[in-house]
Subunit: 206 residues, 2 copies
DNA sequence: CGAACGCTTGACTTCTATCAACAGGTGTGG
DNA sequence: CCACACCTGTTGATAGAAGTCAAGCGTTCG
């Protein structure tokens, strides 16, 4: 529905779509590409709070909360096309289209669940368990590449993976190579392959 | 508005209102008392995801997400009176009262912010910073007792405080007595008093 | 082609969880 | 109303997980 919007904008990989602290002016629907939503923590370290892909809507939290300023930033992970929907259009849609409003309520409720789950995990699970879980979630969300290698269909820097898991990149690297040595995953540059699904699942739920 | 509901139920301190994994049957509005919302993590350890007080609505996330099962539990922190609103009544309100629907959207958006903020904090801040921040938030949310001592107006066990901060009770106790020794807070049984607001704020935002 | 950035590894330190033992308080049933 | 049992709070000692720092190498992009 929102994809029919006329304003399609191209964002190069690594481009900031909106920033924490700025006034929200609209929402974006991802036509193609991948996006990370993150908050800046201590000394500017990025904590990723949500990942998005084609079909995902981003930027709606600040608008639906009537917030003066954005509380998170968005940046493309790869080259992407986004549809821009000005806040007036969005507000009008909300007011005139009840189905859209209920759909939005669903999305918001799901976001709360995601954030609270993640909160509990970070508070209680070990680093290794969180990494294992994150790899499984990335596979679920982005799927695997069409190739025979079944690589997870997203290319993240170790730094981004660290921001998603909630740790430092050096720790991620150490754990990844440990998992590779144990034959649980495969590594080929930034491409990660899940080789032993059961073990990974067991690691994720201790 | 919802407070006018006829079904007011008394819950003794420590009583479970609803449990993770159960089918949601309605929402509750807190008439008086205090409630914690928590998720069960590793070995049943409670991670508190939200606190509630008189006037707060709880239990709506599962309903608005159309979830089959609850993803969090609720328990009273002290003796409380709750108004019960069956899901049918709640759904009817949503469909017929646009203002209520928009208000709910606001609440959901705010919950996302709270959860994502907390997520970033737990991932990045030190235990001491999180405890300092939590104490300030508790004071903001529950206010201070009417007495001259300015004690934070909620009585939590050290275990609950640990569940809120995301750590073990032994760690909380150690840090609390350290803060007391430094004159930043006062302790009288379970009552906590903020004595040096500036220092606490500085500790919370390193 | 070179500078900048990302990746990797090792060594080290620090923070925080865990365990155990005991003190103090609370609540319940007799 | 008292006594006992149980839960909560407190402290110390210890171990281990994870963060930090630094150096070197590989890759990528302008």
């Amino acid at each position: 529905m929102l994809l029919r919007s006329k304003r399609v904008i191209f964002f190069k990989k690594g481009k900031v779509i909106f920033s924490e602290g700025n006034a929200p002016v609209g929402v974006y629907c991802i036509s193609s590409g991948k996006v990370k939503l993150y908050k800046l923590g201590i000394e500017g370290k990025e904590q990723i709070v949500r990942m998005a892909k084609a079909g995902s809507l981003i930027g709606y939290r600040s608008l639906t909360g009537n917030d003066e300023y954005r509380t998170a930033s968005a940046k493309t992970i790869e080259d992407s096309y986004l549809c821009y929907i000005p806040k007036e259009t969005f507000a009008h849609l909300l007011e005139t289209n009840a189905a859209f409003a209920f759909r939005l309520i669903n999305i918001l409720a799901e976001d709360i669940k995601i954030a609270q789950d993640k909160l509990t995990d970070i508070a209680q699970k070990s680093l290794k368990a969180r990494l294992a879980e994150t790899l499984l979630e990335l596979k679920d969300f982005y799927g695997t590449a069409n190739g025979e290698d079944q690589a997870i269909n997203i290319t993240l820097t170790r730094e981004d993976l660290a921001g998603l898991v909630g740790t430092a990149s050096a720790c991620i690297i150490r754990l990844l190579s440990e998992l590779k040595k144990q034959g649980v995953i495969g590594l080929a540059g930034k491409k990660i392959t899940i080789k032993d699904y059961e073990t990974l699942q067991r690691l994720a739920n201790p």
